[in-house]
Structures are given as structure tokens and as C-alpha cells.
């Protein structure tokens, strides 16, 4: 099989085909790379939500005219910090948070170490995504909840979050895919994964075949995540009737 595949790619004009096919078929390479590609970004996404979800809620509830307005100074600091973090390119942020990574994980390099910059980059993005979702909420429904004697906490947990759930799921899908994309840059700080393989081997050593295979797998991963996200969103959204779900 190895030989026939090599011959096939050589006939297509791929140089160094034997070496590349061998690498791709080695069961310890690609599956491990997929695992590395997923685990750091997925953990970072979860952590980013732990930080970003409350921040996003604050951005909506704390603004002037919100359900629990915060002092204007607090809100502008919050907004500035979020904007600042979002404006630093990830490649640079990754290097900037080295000290933080060392402090938390004891190391600044390797796949696990990328969780720190990924979280730092994703948390403000998640906060904005959550903010956008919660802003879709109908003011009238919140007013109705207030008229029934809802406390601020009850409005957040019983009205805002459950009513915006489909939109929040959409946002989480977006966040996961974006963070997965950031994760592909992890190769630069010694992390692994499909991104690192395409950069180091594919580009660095001109192994075009490896490059394409790694990119195609990344594309498939993103497609799968998007499909799961969309399916979950549609399934949760009770505003969509059964008929429109079937596309009738």
C-alpha cells in the first residue's frame, strides 16, 4: 500500500513522496496531531467562557438603562480592557503572556502552554459574543419578569440565559472555531497539532502533500464543529416550529 500510494503521488509529480506518505500513514502521527489540535483550544474555550460569560453578562446588565446599572467608570474600564486585549494580534499576544504561562503552568512552551494565551485571547472575544447574544433579548420580556418581582439574579439565570440559549450556542460554535484557528499558530511556541505540522513539515520542509492533508483535516474538523453547533442551536430553539425545522 505504501509503495502503490508513493508511486501514485510520484506520478502526480509530488517530490519526496515516499517520505511524506510514510509520515502520513504512521498511526502515531496524524491521530496524535488531531488530538493536540483539539485539546488545547477546547480547554481554552471552556476557560474563556468561565471568564467571558460573566463579563458579557456584566456588559449588558451593567450599562446605563440595564437591569442593574454599574458606575460609568467601571463600565468604561471593562470596555477598554476588552478592546485592548482584542486588538493585540494573537501571534504577539502569545509571546507577551509567556510570563503568565510560566507562572501558571511552569512552562511557556509546548501544546499545554498554549492554553494560557488562547484563553487570554478568547475571553474578551467570548465576552463580546455573549454581549451580542444577550442584546437580542426583547426588553418587554425583561420588563414582564420585573413586573412579576424577579430579582436581578433571577432575570439573568431564569430569563436572559435560557431565552438566549440558541444564540449563545451559536456564539460558542463561533468561538470554538476561532480559537481552533488561533491554536494552529501554536507551532510557533513549540506546540503540536495539525497547524504545527503544516507549518513545520508542510511549509518548512516543502512537504506539500503533508501540508494539504493537514489542512484538509482541519477543514473537516471545523465543518464537524459547525454542524454540531448548528444542530444543537436548532434543536434548543423553541421559536422554530417542527415544520420549519423540516424545511417545509
Amino acid at each position: 500500500m505504501l509503495e502503490s500510494l508513493t508511486a501514485f503521488f510520484e506520478s502526480l509529480g509530488v517530490s519526496k513522496a515516499a517520505e511524506q506518505v510514510e509520515f502520513l500513514l504512521d498511526p502515531s502521527n496524524i491521530p496524535f496531531a488531531i488530538w493536540e489540535t483539539l485539546y488545547a483550544p477546547l480547554i481554552a474555550t471552556v476557560l474563556a467562557y468561565v471568564i467571558g460569560l460573566p463579563l458579557g453578562i456584566l456588559l449588558v446588565t451593567g450599562e446605563e438603562g440595564g437591569i442593574r446599572p454599574l458606575p460609568k467608570g467601571v463600565m468604561s474600564v471593562l470596555n477598554t480592557v476588552i478592546n485592548l486585549l482584542r486588538s493585540i494580534p494573537f501571534l504577539i499576544l502569545m509571546v507577551m503572556v509567556f510570563p503568565l504561562s510560566r507562572l501558571i503552568l511552569g512552562t511557556a512552551i509546548g501544546t499545554t502552554a498554549t492554553i494560557v494565551p488562547l484563553t487570554v485571547a478568547a475571553a474578551p472575544y467570548v465576552a463580546r459574543l455573549v454581549e451580542a447574544s444577550l442584546r437580542e433579548m426583547d426588553r418587554g420580556v425583561i420588563e414582564a419578569a420585573q413586573s412579576m418581582g424577579c430579582s436581578t439574579w433571577q432575570i439573568i439565570t431564569k430569563v436572559l440565559l435560557p431565552e438566549c440559549k440558541p444564540s449563545l450556542i451559536n456564539g460558542a460554535t463561533n468561538a470554538t472555531i476561532t480559537i481552533l484557528g488561533y491554536g494552529a499558530m501554536a507551532g510557533n511556541i513549540g506546540g503540536g497539532g495539525l497547524g504545527a505540522i503544516s507549518l513545520m513539515r508542510g511549509y518548512g520542509r516543502s512537504q506539500t502533500l503533508v501540508l494539504y492533508v493537514a489542512v484538509i483535516i482541519l477543514v473537516i474538523l471545523v465543518q464537524v464543529i459547525q454542524s454540531i453547533g448548528t444542530a444543537l442551536c436548532v434543536k434548543t430553539d423553541k421559536r422554530i416550529t417542527k415544520n420549519s425545522k423540516k424545511g417545509e
Binding site: 426583547d138 418587554g140 420580556v141 420588563e143 414582564a144 419578569a145 420585573q146 413586573s147 412579576m148 418581582g149 424577579c150 430579582s151 433571577q154 431564569k158 430569563v159 435560557p162 431565552e163 440559549k165 440558541p166 434548543t236 430553539d237 423553541k238 421559536r239 422554530i240 416550529t241
Partner: protein, 337 residues
């Protein structure tokens, strides 16, 4: 009757600096326990602000809101939240939770007070029976019609056994037939459960249909207040007339004579007034407009009459009409202005 809700000297201004808008100006209304009270006004009159001042969704700048004599504005947020379970509200756009079934929507206010789930469900089912939609318990709002949504909203508003139900343009998004059914339901709730109902609307028919008393709100000021039959049969203010006779009359087309408004105050059959006036006094009057309304089962009519230009004839006619039984006469000044 003791008042259940009293609004005293309520004022509310929106905006600041030059763009200030006075939404309410020194509003005084006392709503009695067990009545259906209407607040009517054209859009921008401040009705929605006023109803939101009752449960303090909107805080008035000045004045007091008393519930059973206790000032809601002096209460802590926690106390106020407790009172809001006794003064519930329904809305023009229903404001149901889209991601919950009808039953779960009705359970919502019970969840807030920590009612055990099983008990809450039982109570919610009873309420769905009350509003006539037990079969829609597991339907989501998207599957319901406007009228059905409002019924679910009413069931939800009743869950905490309120004493007062505020209705903010609750029928304005509904068709006439559904409006009538919804009003009927509100009337039943008022009669059977003794809930005081306060209705905000721009629609005269809603007030006529079920209200006992009405306040006309005009540019944030209470223009008239009283029994619906009194206010609607003989509006005393310009604001009242604009509401009762929204189309007005093309004044410039009418002869410039003295104009009087004649009101038949119900109870008796209409006398052939114009005919007898012509026969008994030999005076011919000009009918400029006439309207009859069925208020609370009694017939009320008003007529606008243009008196003859001759002053003696006009005086005779006026004296004759004034002497009739069950008829009120009022001169309409500046009719042609």
C-alpha cells in the same frame, strides 16, 4: 369603597436640558377595590408611563403611589418585589418566554417564589383551565395565536393570586373578535376572583365594553375622570371631545350659528325632539352630527344642533329643549373656530 391603588401628585419627566418631555404632570387617580378602571388617551398621552408608575417599573419624579394605603415608593427593593406579586401586569406584545411551554410560562412566577414543582404545575394547569386553554399546556408561544398568547399571559399574571391586574394596551395587537373575548375573560376574572383591573388603552370601545370608571389622560394630565357613561356621553374638555368624536366635523362647511350639544341620558326612549320642536315652536334646527352609544346596556345619544340665526328663535328653541326630561343641553363655544 376604599381605594386599593392611589396615585397622588405623580409627575415624571424624561430627558434632560432642552429635550425635556413631561410625561406626567400632577396625576391624581384613586382606583377602588374590585372595579374595572380605564385610562384612555391618544398615543403620547403618557398612559404607558402612568401604568408603569403603578408597579414602579418606572419611578415617578414626584408624588406617591399607595397600595392599600402604603407608599410603594418608600419601600425597599425587596419589599417592592413582594408587592409586585400582588400587582401583576399583562402587555400589548404578551412578553411570554419563547423558550418555555405555556405551562412553564405560567409556572414562572411560582418558581420565583419557590413553589414546589409539582404544586406549581397543578396550579398552572388550573389557571390554564381558567383561561380556557388547558389543551395548549405543552405548546410553545410560537405555536399560539395572539389571542391565545394573551390568555397564557393572563394565566401567568394570575398565578400569584394578585389583587390588581394592570393591562397595558393588552388588546391593541388583537383583532376585534379576539379583543372582545379577551375583555370578556378580564371581566370574568374581575367578577369571579375579585381582581381589580386597570386597563390602559387608546380604544374607546375597550373602555365602553367593560370599564366602570375612566380617566382621560391628555399630555400627561388627567383631563376628565368619572363614570364611563358620564364622561363619554358628555365630554367636558377638548381632550375628551377629541376622543369621543375623533373624526370631528368640518366646521368651515357649517353655517355660522350658535351650536348646542344635546345629550339623551339613557333610560328613556328617544323623544322625537326635532320634530316636536318644529311643531311646537315652529323652529327649524340644523342637525350637524349625531351619535349613539351603548354603554353598559343603556342607550346614550348625543346630537349637535345648529340653532337658527334669528336670536329670538334660537332662544325659544334653547328654552324648549332645556325643558325636556332626561336631556342635557350644553352650548358649544368656539365651534366654528
Amino acid at each position: 369603597m376604599e381605594p386599593i391603588i392611589e396615585m397622588k401628585h405623580l409627575s415624571k419627566t424624561f430627558g434632560d436640558g432642552n429635550s425635556q418631555v413631561a410625561a406626567l404632570r400632577d396625576v391624581n387617580i384613586a382606583v377602588e377595590k374590585g372595579e374595572i378602571f380605564g385610562i384612555i388617551g391618544l398615543s403620547g398621552a403618557g398612559k404607558s408611563t402612568l401604568v408603569r408608575c403603578i408597579n414602579l417599573l418606572e419611578r415617578p419624579d414626584e408624588g406617591e403611589v399607595l397600595f392599600h394605603g402604603k407608599n410603594l415608593m418608600a419601600m425597599s427593593e425587596k419589599e417592592l418585589r413582594a408587592q409586585r406579586k400582588k400587582i401583576t401586569m399583562i402587555f400589548q406584545h404578551f412578553n411570554l418566554l419563547d423558550q418555555r411551554t405555556s405551562l412553564e410560562n405560567v409556572c414562572f412566577p411560582l418558581e420565583l417564589v419557590g413553589t414546589p414543582k409539582k404544586e406549581a404545575k397543578k396550579r398552572a394547569m388550573e389557571l390554564l383551565e381558567t383561561v380556557g386553554l388547558p389543551d395548549k399546556a405543552n405548546a410553545y408561544p410560537v405555536q399560539l395565536s395572539g389571542g391565545q398568547k394573551q390568555r397564557i399571559a393572563i394565566a401567568r399574571a394570575l398565578a400569584t393570586n394578585p389583587e390588581v391586574l394592570l393591562c397595558d394596551e393588552a388588546t391593541s395587537a388583537l383583532d376585534p373578535k379576539t379583543t372582545r373575548e379577551t375583555l370578556r375573560l378580564l371581566q370574568d376574572i374581575n367578577k369571579n376572583l375579585g381582581v381589580t383591573v386597570i386597563i390602559i388603552t387608546h380604544d374607546m370601545k375597550v373602555i365602553e365594553e367593560i370599564c366602570g370608571r375612566v380617566a382621560i389622560l391628555n399630555h400627561g394630565v388627567v383631563a376628565e375622570i368619572g363614570k364611563v357613561e358620564d364622561v363619554f356621553s358628555m365630554p367636558k374638555t377638548e381632550a375628551g371631545r377629541r376622543l369621543v368624536y375623533p373624526d370631528g366635523l368640518p366646521a368651515e362647511l357649517l353655517p355660522k350659528t350658535k351650536v348646542i350639544r344635546v345629550a339623551f341620558n339613557g333610560g328613556t326612549a328617544y323623544q322625537p325632539l326635532i320634530a316636536s320642536l318644529a311643531i311646537d315652536c315652529g323652529v327649524k334646527v340644523n342637525i350637524l352630527g349625531a351619535d349613539t352609544r351603548n354603554i353598559d346596556g343603556k342607550a346614550f345619544g348625543t346630537m349637535l344642533l345648529g340653532l337658527p340665526e334669528d336670536e329670538t328663535e334660537a332662544a325659544n328653541a334653547l328654552a324648549y329643549i332645556t325643558s325636556q326630561k332626561d336631556i342635557t343641553v350644553e352650548e358649544v363655544p368656539n365651534y366654528h373656530a
